[in-house]
């Protein structure tokens, strides 16, 4: 019996396998469990395609949506329409990547309780958006398609980013797929589109010239309304601007002058500058990655280098990426990364808090100062300072030619006020002139911003 009694210890080998294997699992559990719990499709966390737990509020704690129990949206129809592209719909047609990115926090996950939270709602996500500005911007856009966005260029908070066309998630329209009024209905144009920039791109060309041509400030430009480049012609739509200095050319948005500047700098210099400031690269924040832009002039014909210098040819910009660049100009050349989710808390305990992410110095402080001065001049000399009562605004309009429709109206600018450091971007499709279409929209949105922030 002694022999058997000693051999019996072999059974402990199996016990060791069980305990060792389970110990290994536990080590994985406590290191990877927080990823496991939010695996896409988890019915504890998701409701179909979109996140299904937690509550989302705006910067003033106005309820946007309670994601529990099949999503209870805000009572206000216009607010629902203004925010659905950020918080998603019930059927997953519009996704909410920024909320899914914080799924763990939204579910209120921790290793002790799992996602169990005593009948509470889970996490509360506070967005940087202002419900007031969202609805105002939606109203200002009217029936146009496009996007209006405002962000704080010191902190990166996105206060307003509206996209149209939109719809009420509580009252889904029965629309025809081919109806042009609903074209791109599910697209959040602020992050998922790339527009031909038109003249707002002159800010970039101007910056390139200031950084690469030491003589540029002393140059003058003569515009006869059109300019021959090889067999082709560059045209200023509003006629000849005659002799002008750089500031005036920028204010006149003179195509001939900026085509000349781009050609003088040359394709290589323009290309490397655009790449350096990174406006064609996607912007990433809160699990969102924006659409890429485009700028490719190396090897292009001279006339195309000219057209690309005024934001035509193959140029494409994503509104969010361009807004980030305009913010950098307003911020003395240093970019600040935008963000949407400010804080997530569970039962009052903060589980996530956004931090200000100051990016790289895109352009020199001197260049930024000149750009600021010129943009401020645009407003006082051309667009009308009275459009922005009580605010000091610098901006640049654009009218981007797109085949087969009216031009896209564009506007990019900023508020020169340390208490209200806002940069803004307005893109309106199939609309006409930037000055006539976009300036009133920006004016209306900034007016509300001033009232709510000051």
């Amino acid at each position: 019996m002694n022999r058997i009694a000693t051999r019996v210890w072999a059974l402990l080998l199996f016990v060791a396998v069980l305990l060792g294997g389970f110990g290994f699992f536990l080590s994985e559990y406590f290191t990877k469990g927080s990823d496991w719990v939010v695996v896409h499709g988890s019915p504890h966390v998701y409701n179909g395609e979109n996140i299904g737990c937690g509550v989302v509020v705006d910067r003033d704690s106005t309820l946007l949506v309670d994601l529990n129990d099949g999503r209870v949206y805000s009572n206000a129809e216009d607010l629902r329409r203004a925010t659905v592209h950020w918080i998603g719909d019930r059927y997953g047609s519009i996704s909410a990547p920024a909320l899914s990115h914080y799924a763990r926090e939204m579910a209120g996950f921790d290793y002790f309780n799992g996602i169990y939270n005593y009948g509470q709602t889970g996490g509360v996500a506070e967005l940087t958006l202002s419900a007031e500005m969202q609805t105002e911007a939606l109203e200002a856009l009217g029936d146009y398609k496009g996007t209006v966005a405002v962000f704080n260029y010191k902190t990166g908070e996105i206060l307003c980013a509206v996209t149209t066309p939109t719809y009420d998630p509580d009252n889904v329209p029965d629309f025809d797929k081919d109806d042009p009024a609903y074209e791109g209905l599910y697209v959040n144009r602020f992050i998922q589109s790339a527009y031909t920039p038109g003249s707002i791109f002159k800010i970039v060309t101007l910056a390139a010239a200031l950084e690469n041509d030491p003589e540029i400030l002393n140059k003058t430009f003569t515009c006869k309304g059109s300019m021959q480049v090889g067999a082709d012609e560059i045209i200023c739509d509003d006629g000849a601007h005659w002799e002008q200095d750089l500031k005036q050319a920028f204010c006149n948005s003179c195509n001939c002058a900026f085509a000349q500047i781009a050609m003088d700098l040359g394709a290589e210099v323009m290309q490397s500058f655009v790449e350096k400031i990174g406006i064609m690269q996607p912007v990433s924040f809160d699990g969102i990655t924006t659409e890429k832009g485009n700028f490719s002039v190396v090897g292009a014909d001279q006339v195309n280098v000219a057209w690309s210098g005024v934001g035509q040819y193959l140029d494409l910009v994503n509104p969010c990426a361009f807004l980030r660049f305009v913010g950098a100009v307003a911020n003395g050349g240093r970019a600040v990364e935008p963000y949407l989710v400010d804080r997530v808390s569970v039962d009052g305990n903060t589980t996530y808090k956004a931090t200000v992410r100051a990016g790289e110095q895109l352009i020199s402080t001197e260049t930024a100062a000149v750009l600021q001065e010129y943009m401020l001049n645009n407003v006082t000399a051309k667009y009308g300072a009275e459009k922005f009562p009580g605010l000091i605004v610098g901006a640049k309009t654009g009218t981007a030619e797109v085949e087969g429709q009216k031009p896209n109206a564009m506007l990019a600018g900023y508020v020169a006020d340390p208490e209200m450091p806002l940069a803004f971007m307005v893109c309106v499709e199939d609309a006409g002139y930037g000055k006539t279409v976009c300036v009133p929209i920006a004016s209306q949105v900034l007016d509300i911003a001033a009232k709510s922030l000051k």
Partner: protein, 573 residues
């Protein structure tokens, strides 16, 4: 009953927070206390030394005979060491029987043994007989009736009736708590069936204790642990398929019947040795019948349908295998017996391979390893067997694409979480969602996943009852296994020790494959968790195996599968 449920629902509305807290913290606390008490009592009993007789050397020195089965030999690991060159390492075996008689058997390595000057292969011994071992004369002397009586009083104590009663009360509290949790769960399906099922388990465990009291047995830890596992299994059934709760209760009753039947058959070693042959034939027959008439589900042909009933005969074969593997020491010293056993095991595994049931084949193989090692102590044999398995495994994987698929998915479940890795990714997701204390009865998602009440039952229970409860389930199993190891030293016969360790080994291996497969530490094999998984055959098998563990427990008044000592004293005197 409907009124009772309604009262509960209204109480829930009024005191929901209090109730939630009681259930959330109370259930694991009670489970912990219960297991702690049972397992410590199972593992910390004092083993009293025993002497059943002496061998007197010519010099007058008395060598004590400390077991019922004693190997005499030169080897240091023999029970009676006679370190003389002429004595073989394993010379002969001295055996005591239930009725107090003794015999001696010569091993293969010697031509025979000399008893009272006569060379024999095997002989009955009486006090005063002289055995000659390699030229050494030993006078045999069995203990007298008076000493025997003393010995029976000094014997290792089983746990007291009071402790058993308290443990069972704890288990009942746990059962009330978990049952309450289901009844209070808003939207629980078939609450009356669930209530009946839990009441049924309680009735069963109390009736068994009552029966033990009647036959003067007091140890109840092993059974309590098994009932704990069954209770948690019922929790899985109640959430996944509440309609099957009574069916599972019936399976438990049948399992308990099997437990008592096998336990009874093991009480008498001579009878058990005979039944062993029947079990051997039955074990093969079960598999052959399945092979011919069986139905194929999910790739494995391991189901037999008889009218409205369906069963997995391979589960019953496991119980038979524990019988077949067992052997008394006097047979163990003959090489031929091990060879026959290897052939038998190979045939069983071959049948299972033909049935495509590789999970069960692996369990049988591990059981075979345990038995082979216990019987021979030969690492070489084990190494040979493992290499044979590796070879067979390669061939099997080439022939069975679904098994290969599982190997391909192993440790790669996140590469295709919604298809090939679905079951495990969902298991892990649900387990982490549950945290340490679970989401509460019926509030998990795992119940919608395939095999949530059988193969993936561990994830289902962890999600609803917490990782802590999952760990308790493993501790319960480990406790049973360690108990088998610890009671081995007390064994009356290697027959009991081997079968008890085989049974514990089969249970352990199943849990290893089930749990570690669910959490992707091992490939998924689709093996049930004994006592916990929903399924009649598996339940019967688990209880059947438990009987072997119980039969090796020779503490005083501990096991119904061991005859009371007092009776024997009365016979002698």
């Amino acid at each position: 009953m409907a009124q009772f449920l309604q009262t509960l629902q209204s109480a829930n509305a009024a005191y929901s927070n209090v109730l939630v807290s009681i259930l959330r913290y109370g259930a694991p606390a009670v489970a912990f206390l219960l297991l702690f008490r049972c397992i410590t009592s199972m593992l910390t009993f004092r083993r009293e030394p025993e002497t059943w007789g002496w061998l007197r050397l010519e010099s007058g020195t008395r060598l004590p005979i400390t077991h019922w089965e004693n190997v005499i030999g030169r080897s240091k690991r023999s029970d009676i060491v006679i370190n003389v060159p002429n004595v073989a390492k394993t010379h002969s075996v001295l055996t005591r029987y239930d009725d107090g008689s003794w015999s001696i058997t010569a091993s293969d390595s010697v031509k025979g043994i000399c008893v009272n000057g006569e060379v024999v292969e095997c002989a009955e011994l009486m006090s005063g007989d002289v055995i000659t071992v390699g030229g050494v004369n030993l006078e045999f002397e069995a203990i007298s009736g008076r000493l025997k009586h003393k010995l029976s009083q000094r014997r290792t104590k089983g746990s007291s009736f009071g402790a058993s009663l308290f443990n069972l009360l704890l288990l009942t509290v746990l059962q009330v708590l978990v049952c309450l949790a289901f009844l209070l769960n808003h939207g629980q399906k078939a609450p009356q069936t669930v209530l009946l099922a839990f009441l049924g388990i309680m009735a069963m465990e109390w009736l068994l204790l009552l029966f033990y009291v009647c036959i003067r047995r007091t140890s109840y830890e092993v059974e309590t642990v098994a009932f704990f596992l069954c209770t948690m299994g019922m929790c899985a059934v109640a959430t996944v398929v509440p309609g099957e709760a009574l069916k599972q209760l019936l399976a438990m009753a049948m399992g308990l019947g099997t437990f008592l039947l096998i336990g009874w058959s093991l009480r008498n070693l001579e009878r058990a040795k005979k039944i062993r042959y029947i079990a051997g034939v039955a074990g093969i027959l079960f598999l052959l019948v399945t092979l011919v008439f069986g139905k194929t589900y999910y790739g494995a042909k391991n189901w037999l349908e008889i009218g409205p009933f369906s069963l997995q005969p391979s589960e019953l074969s496991k119980v038979c295998f524990a019988f077949v593997g067992a052997s008394t020491m006097d047979r163990l010293i003959k090489k031929r017996n091990l060879f026959l056993f290897i052939v038998y095991s190979a045939v069983l595994c071959g049948c299972l391979a033909l049935m495509n049931d590789f999970g069960t084949a692996l369990i049988f193989f591990c059981a075979f390893l345990i038995i082979a090692f216990l019987r021979s102590g030969n690492i070489g044999t084990i190494a040979l067997a493992i290499s044979a398995l590796a070879f067979a495994g390669v061939v099997a994987l080439r022939m069975a694409p679904h098994a290969l698929q599982r190997f391909a998915t192993w440790r790669h479940i996140w590469e295709d979480p919604l298809d090939t890795g679905y079951q495990q990714t969902q298991s892990l997701m649900c387990m982490t969602s549950g945290g340490l204390l679970g989401l509460g009865a019926g509030r998990g998602f795992m119940k919608y996943i395939f095999a949530a009440d059988s193969d993936a039952v561990f994830a289902t229970l962890c999600e609803e009852w917490g990782l802590v409860m999952g760990i308790f389930l493993l501790l319960a199993i480990v406790g049973l296994a360690l108990f088998a190891v610890r009671s081995a030293g007390l064994g009356r016969s290697s027959f009991y020790t081997i079968s008890s360790c085989t049974a514990a080994g089969i249970i352990l291996v199943q849990v290893i494959l089930n749990v570690l497969g669910t959490v992707d530490v091992l490939p998924l094999t689709g093996v049930t968790f004994p006592f916990v998984s929903n399924g009649g055959s598996s339940m019967i098998c688990a209880w059947g195996l438990l009987a072997f563990i119980k039969a090796a427990d020779t503490r005083q008044n501990a096991s119904f599968a061991v005859r009371l000592q007092k009776k024997e004293v009365a016979v002698d005197e």
